[in-house]
């Protein structure tokens, strides 16, 4: 038992049976749905006259299309309104809980489930959304699925899946000041590439990971998918249990002790066998910024944009495409690249600790958002918004020229009114810098930590956040 990984234990606990195809029918403990990938799945159920046997194991919210400014209904965008009506009707008809704007529980799906204690260690979690990997921070096996599979889970609470291999990503040492979980994962992606994880689940371990808070672990697991790994996870420990205790849907009373005992058992054994192990040192990680069109195109903020020769030859065409699209050259320093828009939010970095850190950097800097920059901060959930306002973070943001919005996915993928225009460059705390990702077909995205976005907004260009954190008074603007 002790030589097995969490992945293998959780998989075996949830395996219902072997299917004739050789795949496993896997029970899904928590199914999350949102408005973009679920309507067609419900339509497929209706077509076949199927019911939802475990409606209490599916939870719905709305996030992608929700406007972050005026949320009054009906929405100005009629297509968005149609999608809202569809999820409301579907949830009502099939008896599924829906967290609506204004309920205090709405938000980006990967933020609300953990904050309400719905995501628990040892569970399988599925959602029609690739960033479902986020929930692995709790020691759950969580993966994104397509709409036909959303239909499968609704109709059977199971999926047909093949077991993944497990790669351990061992990170040891202390992160240096100004270096965050986001930098850690961008650094890992840079070294293991965007496709290096295909076929794997990533287990994040080591003293650096152990020292991360739950919110930081979520940031790391969130982007496992950007490395090609379908899921990423961290073994549950005291940090996990402390986070969960007292949350609305977490076990309580005598059940709590039983739950903790079970959660401890599902963690990887001390001599667990992995299909692969990669090691990193926390001290090697700099604040990291992407310069290209894939999340693995990252460099330390002190570095220059790499020459294509530093990549394998099959990447050269993509790298050249990236130089051209981003209008950046090899050898150019990433620090100093001008930005037009600054966005803090998303399921990667839209949590309370992200906003606190942004506020800390803004206060240390002392200036206001550069004239040429539009900067906005979007809490990942209504609960995050309420908590941030209770601490007065919104006042800090607004006083320094940032807009403060309502919860949603916002400009992470711009299915709502928040979009880049033309060739604008954004400094973004989100997870994808794909061509056109942020709403303009020619728009450009530089991914970085929320603290780095905050300082980029104030300076109008990519700037090393450590210069602000180390010398706060010197950087203050008149």
């Amino acid at each position: 038992m002790s030589s097995r990984t969490l992945f293998d234990k959780v998989w075996d606990l949830h395996a219902v049976r072997a299917l004739p195809s050789g795949q496993t029918q896997l029970f899904i403990g928590l199914h999350l749905i949102h408005e973009v990938t679920s309507p067609q799945a419900f339509a497929m159920l209706r077509e076949r006259g199927l019911k939802v046997p475990f409606p209490e194991r599916t939870v719905a919210t709305v996030d992608h299309i929700v406007p972050t400014e005026d949320q009054s209904r009906p929405y100005a965008d009629t297509l968005a309104e149609e999608m809202m009506v569809a999820i409301e009707t579907n949830c009502r008809e099939f008896g599924i809980r829906l967290f609506q704007p204004g309920s205090g529980k709405q938000g980006v799906v990967h933020i609300i489930a953990p904050e309400q204690g719905l995501t628990l260690p040892g569970m399988t979690v599925a959602c029609g959304d690739s960033h479902t990997a986020t929930h692995g921070a709790f020691g759950a096996i969580a993966f994104g699925i397509g709409t036909s599979q959303v239909r499968d889970v609704l109709a059977s609470q199971t999926l047909s899946m093949s077991r993944l291999k497990v790669r351990k990503i061992q990170v040891d040492g202390a992160l240096r000041p100004g270096v965050y979980a986001k930098d850690l994962i961008l650094h890992v992606l840079r070294h293991l590439t965007a496709k290096g994880g295909v076929g794997f689940a990533y287990e994040f371990a080591g003293s650096t990971i152990d020292a991360l808070s739950m919110e930081e672990r979520m940031t790391v697991c969130n982007m496992a998918i950007e490395g090609g790994a379908r899921c990423g996870y961290v073994n549950p420990d005291q940090t996990t249990f402390a986070y969960l205790k007292g949350r609305e849907h977490a076990p309580s009373g005598p059940a709590w002790e039983r739950a903790v005992a079970w959660w401890k058992q599902v963690a990887s054994g001390p001599d667990a066998q992995f299909d692969d192990v990669r090691t990193f040192r926390a001290e090697d990680i700099e604040p990291t910024v992407t310069w290209g069109i894939s999340p693995d195109h990252g460099v330390g903020v002190g570095e220059t944009i790499p020459a294509k020769e530093s990549f394998t030859q099959d990447e050269w065409a993509t790298i050249e495409e990236a130089y051209q699209y981003m209008d950046l050259k090899a050898g150019q320093r990433i620090a100093g690249v001008a930005i037009d828009v600054a966005f803090i939010g998303s399921c990667t970095n839209g949590r309370l600790s992200d906003l606190r850190e942004a506020a800390r950097v803004i206060t240390a800097h002392g200036g206001t958002v550069a004239k040429s920059v539009k900067a906005f901060i979007v809490p990942g959930s209504e609960a995050v918004k309420i908590a941030a306002e209770a601490e007065g973070l919104d006042k800090v943001f607004v006083a320094h020229g940032f807009e403060w919005r309502n919860a949603g996915c916002s400009m992470c993928l711009a299915m709502n009114p928040d979009k880049l225009q033309g060739r604008q460059v954004s400094a973004s705390s989100s997870n994808r810098n794909f061509k056109g990702r942020q709403g303009s077909p020619a728009g450009r995205t530089l991914l970085m930590s929320p603290a780095m976005v905050a300082v980029a907004a104030l300076e109008g260009k990519v700037t090393d956040v450590r210069t602000v954190l180390q010398a706060p008074a010197a950087k203050a603007k008149a």
Binding site: H14, A15, Q25, G146, V198, T318, M415, F434
Partner: protein, 201 residues
């Protein structure tokens, strides 16, 4: 419900480039919909428009490849989001089989669930096939799942797919839903054994 998929054959369309993500296959603004109908015409919309603006032609707009039913790509195709809108757009465009060096996992799984086979070939073979098609767009490309090969004219190259999905296509069981639902009693039994399902009571 589903049918056997062992041979897909037809004229082909070469689409060069690694890491082509789902945002490029179908830009996010087209996800504002409640059905997949009509997505086909928007496949690669932004890439196509951009090339048109530069007086170039995207393969999806190239008349030589009109009516193609096989798509030949390079590596890590379909990376990014889990949206089934991406393979749906490709399928609604008329593609019935994809050949490439590698596919993102979720994209591949979505394709299986839709009955759209994705076969893997070596990087050199993918490029050779793309070259063949560019030289002779009228040539048929055949995906032979049973034999594990892709053929184009005189060229025949080994092609692979993970054994599980390959079996699903060959036995007509790529649509897993029927089986999953038929096992509902076993599902209920399995759920009972999970302590969290009962609230750790």
């Amino acid at each position: 419900m589903s049918s056997v998929v062992s041979l897909v054959s037809g004229r082909a369309l070469p689409l060069r480039g690694n890491d082509i993500d789902t945002d490029r296959i179908i830009p996010a603004r087209f996800l504002r919909c409640v059905t997949f109908d009509g997505l086909g015409q928007f496949a690669f919309e932004d890439d196509r428009k951009q090339l048109t603006a530069q007086s170039k032609t995207h393969p999806f707009d190239d008349r030589r490849f009109a009516g193609a039913s096989v798509l030949v790509v390079n590596s890590n195709f379909g990376c990014g989001s889990s949206r089934e809108h991406a393979p749906q757009a490709i399928a609604k465009w008329g593609i019935r089989g994809i050949v490439g060096v590698s596919f993102s996992e979720i994209f591949f799984g979505n394709c299986v669930a839709m009955g759209l086979p994705c076969l893997r070939v070596s990087a050199a073979d993918a490029e050779a096939l793309q070259g063949d098609i560019e030289r002779d767009p009228a040539a048929d490309v055949t995906l032979d799942l049973a034999k594990g090969e892709v053929r184009c004219g005189k060229r025949s190259v080994p092609a692979t797919m993970a054994e599980g999905p390959r079996k699903q296509f060959l036995t007509g069981q790529w649509d897993a839903l029927g089986q999953l639902v038929s096992g509902i009693d076993e599902v209920r039994a399995a759920a009972k054994k999970l302590p969290y399902v009962g609230g750790f009571a």
